[in-house]
C-alpha cells in the first residue's frame, strides 16, 4: 500500500473542496477501497473521510418517496421498516449481497461506487484498461466466466458487482449529488456508464462531486417483486446473473413491469422497450419468455460466459413468475 494523507471533512462543502485535489478520494465504509489499496489497484494520495457528515438518515419525501442518506449503512437500509414495507425489492437485493459484517460497514453511496470484480482488474501484473487506460483488456480473450454479455466494448467487458444498484435501477431511483457547481439529480439509468472507450470511468459522477442521497419514488412495487440472484455458492459470491423484477398487477393483467439485470453488464441492465411489451398483457410464462428474448437482444458471449445468455433468459422468466405468484424464492 502506498502512503496517503488522511483528513476528516466536517461538512459537504469541505468534502467537495478536499476531494477536488489531485489523487484525492472519499472514504466511508472502505469495504472496497481499502482492499483495492492494499493490492495497489487504487492509489489515492489523499483520503477524505466523510463519515462525520450527517448524511445517514432515511426519511420520507414530500412526494411520498423515501430519501436514503448516502452514508446510511447497507444493513440499516435493508432492515429499515419503511424500506421493508414499501421497497422490499431493495431490501432483498441488499441482503443478497456481501456478508452481514460488510453490510454493517458499507454505505449506500459507496455501494453504487463499487469497482468491478474482474480477475484482471485485481491483478496489477496483467493489462487492464479499467485499471490502466490503454494497457489493453486481458479478459476479452482470457478467463471471462464472470464477465459481461451486454453493453460491452472492445476495451472492457467488466460487470458492475452491486446487487443494491440492480434494485435501484428497477425502482427508478434518483441519485442526488453535490459538487463545486452545486447540486444535481441524476436519474439512476444515467448514473453508471457503459465501458465504451473510457472503461476507467464507472459512473458519470464528476471528480469533485459527492453523493448525498438516493431518492426512491413513491411507487415501490411492494406487492409483486423478486430479486433472483444466481451465483456459484449460496452466499458471499457475486452474481453470475441477477434479476430485479417488479410488477404492478391488476388481477392477471400487467399494468407495469420493471426488470433490471445484474452481473451481465457494466451497469444494471434495463430495456424499457422490452418491459413495455408486458404492459396490458396477461402474466403468462409465454409473455415472460418474449420479454426475456427482447432483454437479451444483442447479447454477446465470450469464451467462458456464453452460458449467461441462456441463464439470464431463464432467470428473467423465473423472476417474473416468482414476482407474479410471490412464492418463496428457491
Amino acid at each position: 500500500m502506498r502512503p496517503f494523507t488522511f483528513t476528516q471533512a466536517p461538512d459537504i462543502a469541505t468534502a467537495v473542496q478536499e476531494v477536488s485535489s489531485d489523487g484525492a478520494k472519499f472514504i466511508a465504509g472502505g469495504t472496497n477501497l481499502l482492499d483495492l489499496m492494499k493490492i495497489d489497484v487504487m492509489r489515492p494520495s489523499h483520503l477524505v473521510d466523510i463519515t462525520q457528515i450527517a448524511l445517514d438518515t432515511i426519511e420520507e419525501t414530500e412526494q411520498g418517496g423515501l430519501r436514503l442518506g448516502a452514508l446510511a449503512k447497507n444493513a440499516d437500509t435493508a432492515y429499515h421498516p419503511l424500506v421493508e414495507a414499501r421497497y422490499p425489492l431493495l431490501s432483498h437485493a441488499i441482503l443478497a449481497g456481501a456478508t452481514a459484517q460488510l453490510r454493517n460497514m458499507a454505505t449506500d453511496g459507496g455501494n453504487l461506487l463499487q469497482r468491478t470484480r474482474c480477475y484482471y482488474f485485481y491483478d496489477t501484473h496483467t493489462p487492464c484498461n479499467k485499471r490502466e487506460p490503454g494497457s489493453g483488456c486481458s479478459a476479452i480473450n482470457g478467463y471471462n466466466r464472470d464477465l459481461a454479455i451486454l453493453g460491452t466494448s472492445e476495451h472492457c467487458i467488466a460487470t458492475h458487482p452491486s446487487d443494491m444498484a440492480v434494485a435501484l435501477a428497477a425502482l427508478e431511483a434518483t441519485v442526488h449529488v453535490t459538487g463545486k457547481n452545486g447540486d444535481r439529480a441524476i436519474p439512476f439509468a444515467d448514473f453508471h456508464r457503459l465501458p465504451g472507450d473510457t472503461p476507467h470511468l464507472d459512473t458519470n459522477l464528476q471528480p469533485d462531486e459527492i453523493i448525498t442521497a438516493i431518492e426512491l419514488p413513491a411507487k415501490g412495487f411492494a406487492q409483486h417483486y423478486t430479486y433472483l440472484k444466481l451465483r456459484d455458492r449460496a452466499s458471499y459470491a457475486f452474481a453470475l446473473v441477477s434479476v430485479a423484477a417488479a410488477l404492478d398487477l391488476d388481477g392477471d393483467s400487467i399494468k407495469e413491469a420493471r426488470i433490471a439485470l445484474g452481473g451481465v453488464a457494466h451497469k444494471p441492465w434495463r430495456v424499457p422497450e422490452a418491459e413495455a411489451l408486458l404492459q396490458g398483457q396477461p402474466a403468462t410464462r409465454e409473455n415472460f419468455r418474449k420479454v426475456a428474448e427482447a432483454y437479451l437482444q444483442g447479447a454477446k458471449g465470450y469464451k467462458d460466459n456464453t452460458f449467461k445468455i441462456e441463464l439470464a433468459n431463464r432467470a428473467i422468466v423465473r423472476a417474473l413468475e416468482q414476482a407474479t405468484k410471490m412464492e418463496a424464492i428457491a
Binding site: 480477475y119 485485481y122 496483467t126 480473450n141 456459484d232 455458492r233 432467470a315 412464492e327
Partner: protein, 739 residues
C-alpha cells in the same frame, strides 16, 4: 473401574486458548526489534530476470535491505541440500538461486524494513524487468507429452493383474469415459508465515507454520549449513494446513536468509494472494474403462491417470490404487503418468490422490450400475473385496459393509427409485447418490517423552503438530487413560524441534504413530512407578510384575486384588522429590506386514437441482465411517464434518483457474476462489461404525484426517445424475454445466 478417556467426546484441551486468542500462531510471536519482510513475486511464468532495480525501495528511510538473486549470500547451492522430508524426486526449488523464472508468482525479491507497512510499500517500488520465454501450463493440450517418471514419489502403479484388455474387450457391459479434476489450492485460514530470530552466538529460533518442525529444522540446517542443534523450530499452533505445511515454504527460507545476513529477527508472512504461489492439488485427467458381466460382476478395470507436475520435480500421488483397494476384480491394469509444466510443484492436499482417483472411479462405478440396471449399493456389494488386491494381503479389519448398512438405513436409501429424474418438488429435481472410499492407515516410527513430577502433573511430549485436528487433546486422552490420571493433570507438548522425534503430521497417521509412542512411554513410566512403589514400606507391589498392575482413577493396584492399591502420587513421591522421566520410540510391529490396513467410508447424498437454472443444493448427507477405534468422537466428528464440507466444495465450487496465455492462476483470492459458506451446508450426518483392529497399531485407531472427504464429491456427482439424468465428468459442477 478403569477410567476411559478415549472413546469419549472430550472438549479440546486447547479450546479456551484458541477462542481467547491466547494460542499464538507463527506470525504472532513479535519480538522486540523485529524486521518485516515482504516478498515480490514474478509477473511471468517462464523466462529470465533481465534486471532488478531496488534503488527506489532502498532510498526509503527504514528500508533495511532488498534481497534478490543478485545479492543473496553464497550459501550451499547444492540442490540436494534443499530436499525436505516431503520432497518429490527432482531438484527442489531454490529461492533466489539465479535469474531463471520457473513459474508465475515465483519469489524474486524480499524487501526488509522496520515496519510491515513500509516493507509493503517498498515492495511496490522494486522494478523487475523480465525476458519472457514461451511457457506451457495447460495439461489438456500437453497430454501428448505425458511421460512415466523415472522415480515415483508415492509407490509406483502396481503391475497388471490378469488380462484387463482382453477382459474389457469381451465384457458384456462396458463403461469407458474420461474424468477431469481441476487444480485446487489448500487455502488454510492461517497464511504461511515464519519469524527467524538470530542470536548473538549464531543460533536461531524460528517460528514457522509447518506440519513438522523437525522437517523445517533439517531443511534450514542443510540449506544454510548450520548445525541442526543450532536451529530450534517452534510451531505450537497451526491454523489449518491440509498438506500445505508438509514442505517448508519459501517464506521460511527467506526469513532465515534475511535474519542471518542482517543479524536481526525477521518476519516474513505471505498474503492470501501469495498462498497461490506454491504447491497445489494437481490438475489430473483420468480414463476409466470398466467391464462387467450381465450378473454385475466386475471383469475388467483399466484406470489411467495423467497429472501435471513442475519442470523441476516429479510429484505424483495415489490416484490409481483405488480399484485394487475397493473392488474385487481379476483383470486390472493401471498407469500414472506426468506432464511437466511451468508451474510450481504440486503438493499433497487433503487425501492426495484419494480425492482425485475416488472421484473418477466412483462415478464410473455408478455409470456401470446404471448400465446394468443394478442399484449402485447392490453393485458395490456384489464386487466387495476382503483383500487388498494391490498388495495381495487381507485387510487387518474392514467394516465397510456395516458402513453401507448403517449409512443406507439412516439415509433411507431403500426408498430410492433407480430411474433418474424420478423425484421432484416444484422446480427442484431431487437426486440421491452414493459413493464409497478408503484411506490407508499407516503407522510411522515416532518417539515420546514423559515427565511425571512429584506434584502429580504428567507432561508428555513429541515434536508433532496440531494443525487443528485435535492432537493436543487426543494425546492427552491417551496418556491420561494409560496412566489412570485425570485429564486435567496431563499436558501434552508439541511443535518444538527439540522434542522427541516425530514423523510429519500428515497422511492421517498422527494418532496411530504418535499415539502409539505416547502409550508406550506411559507404559515405561508405569514400570518406573512400580519400582518406586516397591520401595515403600509394606508395599503390596513387592513381588508384582508390570503385567500384574493396573492404573486407574489416580491409583495403582494389583489387577487380581484391586483393594491392594496406593495412590500414583505416593509412588512418584518416593523418588526423593525428583520427577520420573521416561523416553520411548515406537516402530510399527512386524506383523503389520502381513496385512493391509485402510479406513473406509460410505457416503449417501441428496441434492436438489433447479430444472431451469442449474443450481445445486446438497440438502442431506450421511457419511458412515469405519476407522478403527475413535479416540475422541467429538474432534473426530469435526474431522469428518470438515471433510464433508470440503467435499461439497470440491464437487460444486473449487477450481483454481489458470489463464494459459499468462501462465498465471487468476482467481487468487477468497473472493474468486470459492469454498463453501455456511449457507451451502445443510443436514450433515456422521456415523462411526464400530471396528476392532488389533493389528493396525497398538492404539487400534486408523486416523480420520482424510477419510472424511474422499467419497463426498463422487456421491454428489452421482446424485446430480440421479436428479437430472446428466452425467458430469468434469469438476466442479457449476450451474452452467447443467443448463
Amino acid at each position: 473401574m478403569k477410567e476411559n478417556y478415549t472413546g469419549k467426546p472430550a472438549n479440546r484441551v486447547d479450546g479456551r486458548a484458541k477462542v481467547t486468542g491466547e494460542a499464538k500462531y507463527a506470525a504472532e510471536f513479535n519480538v522486540p526489534n523485529l524486521l518485516h519482510g515482504v516478498v515480490v513475486n514474478s509477473a511471468i511464468a517462464k523466462g529470465t530476470i533481465k534486471s532488478i532495480d531496488t534503488s527506489a525501495a532502498l532510498q526509503l528511510a527504514g528500508v533495511v535491505q532488498v534481497f534478490t538473486h543478485e545479492n543473496r549470500p553464497g550459501y550451499t547451492w547444492l540442490d540436494s541440500h534443499y530436499m525436505d522430508e516431503d520432497a518429490p524426486p527432482g531438484s527442489p526449488f531454490r529461492p533466489f538461486y539465479n535469474n531463471q523464472i520457473l513459474f508465475s508468482m515465483q519469489p524474486v525479491a524480499l524487501v526488509v524494513a522496520e515496519s510491515f507497512e513500509l516493507a509493503r510499500y517498498a515492495a511496490l517500488l522494486v522494478k523487475v524487468e523480465y525476458e519472457a520465454q514461451p511457457h506451457e501450463t495447460d495439461l489438456e493440450s500437453n497430454l501428448p507429452r505425458a511421460y512415466t517418471p523415472k522415480k515415483y514419489k508415492s509407490p509406483p502403479p502396481t503391475d497388471p493383474r490378469g488380462d484387463a484388455d482382453t477382459a474389457f474387450a469381451q465384457a458384456t457391459f462396458k463403461v469407458e469415459e474420461a474424468y477431469a479434476h481441476p487444480a485446487h489450492h489448500h487455502n488454510p485460514m492461517e497464511m504461511h508465515a515464519s519469524i527467524a530470530i538470530w542470536h548473538e552466538d549464531g543460533k536461531m529460533t524460528i517460528y514457522d507454520k509447518i506440519q513438522g518442525v523437525q522437517n523445517s529444522q533439517k531443511y534450514i540446517s542443510t540449506a544454510f549449513g548450520i548445525p541442526q542443534e543450532d536451529v530450534q523450530v517452534l510451531s505450537p499452533f497451526v491454523g489449518g494446513a491440509f498438506g500445505s505445511g508438509l514442505r517448508p515454504q519459501y517464506q521460511l527460507f527467506l526469513a532465515v536468509l534475511a535474519a542471518r545476513e542482517l543479524k536481526r529477527a525477521v518476519k516474513v508472512g505471505l498474503t492470501r494472494q501469495q498462498m497461490f504461489s506454491f504447491g497445489h492439488r494437481p490438475a489430473t485427467v483420468q480414463r476409466l474403462a470398466l467391464g462387467a458381466s450381465a450378473e454385475g460382476e466386475l471383469e475388467a478395470v483399466k484406470h489411467d491417470a495423467i497429472a501435471e507436475t513442475s519442470r523441476f520435480e516429479d510429484y505424483n500421488e495415489d490416484v490409481v490404487i483405488w480399484p485394487g483397494v475397493l473392488y474385487d476384480c481379476e483383470n486390472v491394469k493401471v498407469s500414472h503418468q506426468l506432464v511437466d509444466l511451468d508451474v510450481f510443484t504440486p503438493l499433497d492436499m487433503r487425501a492426495p490422490g484419494g480425492v482425485t482417483g475416488t472421484f473418477a472411479l466412483e462415478v464410473a462405478i455408478d455409470e456401470m450400475a446404471y448400465q446394468l440396471g443394478i442399484d449402485p449399493l447392490e453393485f458395490r456389494l456384489k464386487n466387495y473385496t476382503n483383500t487388498d488386491q494391490n498388495k495381495g494381503k487381507p485387510y487387518s479389519s474392514k467394516e465397510l459393509k456395516e458402513c453401507y448398512r448403517q449409512g443406507a438405513e439412516r439415509f433411507g436409501w431403500s426408498k430410492r427409485k433407480m430411474e433418474p429424474r424420478s423425484m421432484k418438488e416444484g422446480h427442484q429435481l431431487i437426486g440421491w447418490g452414493m459413493a464409497n472410499g478408503a484411506w490407508e492407515a499407516k503407522q510411522q516410527e515416532a518417539a515420546a517423552k514423559a515427565v511425571f513430577s512429584p506434584d502429580g502433573k504428567l507432561t508428555v511430549s513429541c515434536a508433532t503438530a496440531d494443525i487443528g485436528t485435535g492432537t493436543y487433546t487426543v494425546m492427552s486422552q491417551i496418556a491420561a487413560e494409560t496412566m489412570g490420571l485425570p485429564l486435567e493433570e496431563v499436558t501434552f507438548k508439541l511443535g518444538d524441534s527439540t522434542l522427541p522425534k516425530s514423523p510429519l503430521e500428515g497422511g492421517s497417521w498422527t494418532v496411530s504413530s504418535v499415539g502409539s509412542a505416547v502409550k508406550l512411554v506411559c507404559e515405561k513410566l508405569q514400570e518406573q512407578l512400580l519400582e518406586q512403589a516397591r520401595k515403600m514400606e509394606n508395599s503390596p507391589f513387592k513381588d508384582a510384575n508390570p503385567e500384574d498392575v493396573s492404573f486407574a482413577e489416580g491409583r495403582m493396584f494389583l489387577t487380581q486384588a484391586p483393594a491392594q492399591s496406593i495412590s500414583i502420587l505416593e509412588a512418584v513421591q518416593q523418588n526423593e522429590g525428583q520427577p520420573l522421566v521416561a523416553e520411548a520410540s515406537q516402530k510399527p510391529d512386524k506383523n503389520q506386514k502381513n496385512y493391509s490396513s485402510y479406513s473406509h467410508s460410505a457416503t449417501f447424498v441428496e441434492v436438489m437441482v433447479d430444472e431451469d437454472l442449474g443450481t445445486v443444493k446438497v440438502t442431506r448427507m450421511v457419511s458412515a465411517i469405519a476407522a478403527g477405534r475413535i479416540i475422541n468422537p467429538k474432534t473426530g466428528r469435526s474431522q469428518i464434518l470438515g471433510g464433508s464440507v470440503w467435499g461439497i466444495g470440491a464437487a460444486l465450487q473449487e477450481h483454481t483457474v489458470m489463464d494459459h496465455r499468462l501462465g498465471r492462476f487468476m482467481n487468487h483470492d477468497l473472493d474468486k476462489y470459492h469454498v463453501p459458506v455456511s449457507a451451502d451446508i445443510h443436514e450433515t450426518d456422521v456415523i462411526f461404525v464400530e471396528e476392532k483392529d488389533e493389528i493396525v497399531n497398538p492404539i487400534g485407531a486408523k486416523g480420520l484426517g482424510e477419510i472424511g472427504i474422499v467419497s463426498i464429491a463422487p456421491a454428489i456427482v452421482n446424485a446430480v445424475f440421479h436428479a437430472t439424468g446428466k452425467r458430469i465428468r468434469e469438476l466442479p459442477i457449476t450451474l452452467d454445466k447443467l443448463l
